[in-house]
Amino acid sequence: MSESRWKPASGLSTAARLHWPALLVGGVAGCTALVVAVVCPPFHAPDEQKHFDYVQRLGEDARLADLASCTVPQSSEESHAIGIELVAPVARRQERSVPVETFRLPPSDAAARLTSGCNDAATHPPLYYAISALGYRSAAAGNVLQRIHGARLASVFWGMAGAIAAYLAGAWFFGRRSDGALVGLTFALQPMIVFLNGVVNNDSAAICAAAACWAALARLWRAEQRGRTLVVLGFLALVGVQTKTTFTLTLPVFAAGCLLVLGPGRLSSWVKTATVFLPAAAAEVAWRIHARAAIAKGMSGGGTSISLVRYLQSALDYSHLREVWIDEYWMAWGWVDVRLPLQHYWTIRLLLLLALAGLCLGWTTLDRRSRAFVGFVAAATVFLCGTLYAIEYAVIRRTPLVSFIQGRYALTLFPAHAAALSIGLRGLTARVTSRLDPAWVVPSLLVPLDVASVAALTLRFYHA
């Protein structure tokens, strides 16, 4: 590829001129997410009906649900009708397709749109839903399907922003715009992220905010404009805790990263880190206090008496670990059983094995910075997974639920995982050649996975 292809466009600000490939990466993320938004039938995504209910509450009434008075889960009449017509007949019945020919749009008057917003999703902070409500309002004159897709558009934009942030994280960490494109494309093409960016679910916002924090940390590590970067990091953390709890669980990772970059041996580093993340922590505490009654109710109802040892034996079983942290993390489309070819999961596992082999073989060729980063990512992953297991154990002991963790909850770490994956794969050829760049195997693998995912989604719901 000649130098001219990377020559920045003229007439733009310096940063924009330098990082114009970010726009292309954002475009890829937007395009793939739009495909999912169009193909996936309404409410066939993780808890999409509940998330839409929250959006509808804000879109119609511009008020949050009154959590103190919520007694039973509710949704609007039209949302309920969609669930009855397009979800219930099809859920877990692979041989049945969405009844497009017999489906009739439900009445869409003001009464049919009314909802109290009382459901599990109501305990989430409101930022994602407020922005989705703007998309909802843009289709206010339309039918319920159009308003669902209006809300889905918000996730698409979060996805595009997340991909741009991932590009910046890669570019600032590796010091090359081509590596920014690598990390950005890996993010934009990751099948689970593509799916979440096309449906109504606050995961897209949490993952985007996390990607932005990783970018800020990478810039901090480059020691560029540290003061301004710290302020931005604090703002991004504040935004992030307003998206989803999974971001909040990752906040300690960002704080630890900030401290390590600033230098943990200095008192000023501790003071700066605490100052940066204090607003986010305060906002999180404030929201928890606001929603305490609903959260307490959600963590009650009787549970399963299971010892910690027995729980760990089950949770750390190899097949369960593989299913949650590989299959669900990378590629579990559809809320009600879109089955993807098993061989695709084999390719992901093989890729991860190759990266691990590359890390082992090329460890001594890595510079100190890369080794420190890989170690930090490994520790962050163990921390987040451990925290999720602790929460799941509490959930099982106190509620009727028998499981809680889904692999997508760790996607806030994905930009860092993508960078570590690149480092690992490059280790495979580090000693023998620079005429191949193994890191680019990742996006080249993700392309056929995305094609297969959309194909499987289409077949599953629309077959004759």
Binding site: C31, L185, P438
Partner: protein, 212 residues
């Protein structure tokens, strides 16, 4: 020695994307989904492992339109066998080569213009894995028969729902998405083969070093 190492690394790295491309191509060319439980008992177990020349018979009820395919739900114990089948009816046979996956249907082509009658399915070959079908016993596999071609119908129905959702040209969007994905794939392959060395650092747009 170095050339051998480069070749080995390049081959190992090519396996995941090539494998994924192959599986995706099979899915696109032989679309399959888990079929109906029609004629299936409530409790099923994997019947197998099956060996070449294993045969079973299905009775297709009369249909006004020709049957297109017969779907069998398979078990492979998480292996990835490549399987060849023959489905014969009225002295005509159709052959299918398919990559089998655990708990997923395989779509067996049927002879053209088949509207009823007995179909004899024979397993011609099983390579690189194990194979069984889900059924109550050796003579009762879970199966279904489908009519018509799959992709045009599926895309048409998807477009209809998309139109109701305010997206008038869903097929165009899919086409654009496919083009974008192919472009990304081509770009990734080009960057993989280009390599990564200090010589091309300037061309790749190295970021200015921070001051201080």
């Amino acid at each position: 020695m170095r050339s051998v190492a480069v070749l080995a690394a390049g081959t190992a790295l090519s396996i995941p994307p090539l494998l994924a491309c192959g599986v995706t191509a099979m899915l696109l060319l032989h679309p399959a989904y888990q079929g109906d439980d029609a004629g299936a008992p409530a409790v099923t177990v994997p019947i197998g492992p099956l060996h070449p020349q294993a045969q079973f018979r299905f009775e297709l009820p009369p249909s006004p339109t020709p049957y297109a395919a017969l779907d069998l739900l398979l078990a492979t114990w998480e292996t990835m066998p490549v399987v060849r089948w023959s489905a014969c009816a009225a002295e005509r046979c159709a052959r299918t080569l398919a990559w089998a996956a655990d708990n997923q249907s395989v779509r067996l082509d049927l002879p053209a213009d088949l509207r009823s009658g007995e179909v004899e399915v024979r397993l011609d070959a099983v390579n690189f894995g194990l194979l069984a079908y889900w059924g109550s016993d050796a003579t009762h596999p879970r199966w279904t028969a489908s009519r018509g071609s799959e992709w045009p119908t599926a895309l048409s129905r998807m477009s209809k729902l998309a139109t109701m959702s305010g997206v008038p040209r869903a097929a165009w969007l899919l086409a654009v998405g496919a083009a974008v994905l192919l472009a990304c794939g081509a770009f990734a392959i080009a960057m993989f083969l280009r390599g990564r060395s200090p010589e091309n650092e300037a061309a790749e747009g190295a970021l200015p070093m921070p001051e201080g």
